[in-house]
Subunit: 413 residues, 2 copies
């Protein structure tokens, strides 16, 4: 399938990206604008998520319950989320309802009512959601890993904190939205079945008069090392581990990600084989590439019984370090094959392409094509992967464990 | 998009179904054959899952690690699973690697090596996976709900039991596979990019000589009522609830499912609105239709803080019963719109269509078309939904709670 990506920037600074996938009947768009947990006041952690929730409690010509009713009536699948630096609204729907669907999304950004009498409901929901991770230690492990690896304000969870959520006022939500939801630094991407010129007119109608200065600048991210243990009365231990790698914008990003693929992509991957299949240490193990601005990390998770947790941690770190001793040709060819397939499969999902376009833009300042990524992947060799690994060895480890006992942890670097 | 479904039955009894989706580059197939937890010996609970795991430890011309290595090399996404009555192998891949991918799947069924020296690894993995649900009370709630709602052998979890997993021998795996993995009562479905005649030849080559008598008959399923409480030291309470509804093969199934949609489909659904948005009682609430042979149920889940758990249960049951008092026209139109969209979206996923074809066949003995389901949905009215609800009111409730305290539970029927 031929890939084409349109690009246009409105006078107000909003960048619009479009990738037609005319073989689909669906269309998906993603609107990312400055916001996010790192821009919350230090005593209002949770404000970004509550503000986003408030925008769907009445916006534009839709009163409180009508926003969700309209979107359900249109058959829209949606996911809104808050990351460290951005707030995102993603929707996918049948192509024929794009106009009204987009109008709702634009109203959430431009004309939220912020009904004061719904703030307490929003606060209750936020507190409940935050408390729910106490019974989900696997998720909690990652929340704690982010918090301990990245200094304030970068390590905040989108779930917020109890004191932050309790302190948020109606004025806080209004002020946060107006201070950050601006077209400069925002990106709107669309993928699937749509007409580019028609879409530009639609965007101009609802977001053309959106205005506001550039997003506030946030400094660089520095990872912190060390380990923390969260006592948990259970026979399971959850292990989350992070170490330095290259970020998405790094010229050798695909080498770093390739190494993570060899470690963790597929049931024949090295971590799965060594830690799960051969030694039967874990029921779950995974590694993934993570970028927070300039700061690249690999994040790992392992879930095991507490009696085998120390061995699991040791074998996991040993397996990661074993990359320097060689990569088999079979590992490399499986990595390439799986990556090629994933790229083609992505072409069958408008939602995947839409969010990837937006992510590329805010991270790289440009879009990437399938051909470009394929070419990066084809150039990987055992030699250049190992060379990359030696130049960017795992270091500055951060460890979080949740379970009955802490583990011995030796960050050798 | 025009929908066409092919059907063919081999002399050995295997039914083959195919739905071309030539606008995709991927293809997906699902092979379901008799097996499942309900056919395990009563003192070998966990055997079905362990047997399935053993089939990918060497099959046909692939030795132990080569099965997963080959599938990773082919870029195959796969999911194998065990339900109450069937074992399923599902794979999706690029169309050009269909032949080898299918050969691997067929080898897992026809020529598993069952390497004796890998049984202990498989047992360890099974025990770890079973123990992991102790730290996942939301999942554990459903395991316990199934166990308490359905009598032996129907309520078993595919995760097995500790004593069952510990008792499984190599001979048990071999015997279970040979006793149940047979073409009569099995179905193979394919959807996506493929040529039907070529696929039939492929199936004939690898499964044409598969033989064996019909699957053993299992009696009808009767739901059990009552409540159980699993003490859990936490400030959260997890509530799982089941009550009678109509099964998938019932002529009024889409009315029953429509009512569940009004209760739980979308953010404007009744349970979401009443229990989460208006009263702020839960962080999660959902209801879904469930069929186990002749036995239809609605399964609900609610997660909340323990201090509000009793109110959550009461309001949830009250909201379910409120259907008899009326359905608003907006609720009905949103239900229809969301269902229509979901049906079209399904046409963009070969994996979804493939598994739906197989499920329809084993449950209904035929396939259903999008047009047929659409027509069922269009015929729904507030009147016939309420009439259905009154004829099939919620009754024979089963409740499972996991949390610090049990709840008061009044099954009024």
């Amino acid at each position: 399938m031929q890939q084409q990506v349109y690009q246009h920037t409105l006078p107000n600074g909003l960048t619009i990206l479009g990738e037609p996938m005319p073989w689909l009947e669906s269309v998906a768009f993603t609107l990312m604008f400055p916001g996010g947990t790192a821009r919350e006041p230090h005593d209002r952690i949770g404000l970004a998520g509550m503000t986003l929730e408030m925008t769907q409690r009445g916006s534009g010509r839709w009163s409180s319950r009508e926003v969700v009713e309209e979107l359900d009536f249109l058959g829209v699948d949606r996911s809104s989320s808050v990351s460290s630096f951005y707030t995102s609204i993603s929707m996918s729907a049948m192509a024929r309802v794009l106009d009204t669907t987009f109008e709702v999304a634009a109203a959430m950004v431009r004309e939220p009512h912020f009904p004061e009498d719904e703030l307490e409901e929003v606060r209750q929901s936020a507190l409940l959601e935050l408390s729910s991770i106490e019974d989900d230690p696997a998720q909690k492990c990652f929340v704690e890993l982010k918090r301990s690896r990245f200094a304030e304000p970068f390590g905040r969870s989108s779930l917020g904190s109890v004191s932050g959520i309790e302190a948020v006022s109606h004025e806080d939500c209004v002020a946060f939205h107006h201070a950050h939801a601006k077209p400069q630094g925002a990106v709107l991407s669309i993928a699937g079945r749509f007409d580019w010129q028609d879409f530009l007119k639609l965007v101009d109608r609802y977001l053309g008069s959106w205005s506001g200065g550039p997003a506030t600048h946030l400094g660089d991210v520095e990872p912190r090392v060390g380990s923390i243990h969260v006592p948990h009365d259970s026979q399971q231990t959850h292990i989350a581990l992070a170490y330095d790698s290259v970020a998405y914008q790094h010229p050798e990003y695909y080498r770093g990600r390739g190494i993570v693929g060899i470690l963790s992509d597929g049931m024949s991957s090295r971590l799965f084989t060594e830690v799960r299949e051969k030694r039967g240490l874990v029921y779950a193990i995974s590694a993934s590439s993570h970028s927070l601005k300039n700061c690249g990390s690999v994040l790992c998770y392992a879930g095991t019984t507490s009696s085998r947790a120390q061995e699991t941690l040791d074998v996991t770190m040993e397996t990661i370090r074993s990359i320097s001793q060689g990569i088999e040709s079979g590992e490399l060819s499986r990595l390439k094959s799986r990556t090629r397939t994933a790229l083609v499969m992505e072409q069958e999902s408008s939602a995947s392409r839409s969010s990837q376009l937006a992510y590329d833009w805010i991270t790289l300042g440009r879009t990437t094509t399938r051909q470009e990524v394929l070419s990066e992947i084809e150039q990987l060799t055992s030699e250049n992967l190992i060379e990359h690994f030696k130049n960017h060895p795992p270091k500055r480890w951060t460890l979080v464990t949740i379970g009955p006992e802490p583990l011995e942890f030796q960050d050798e670097v």
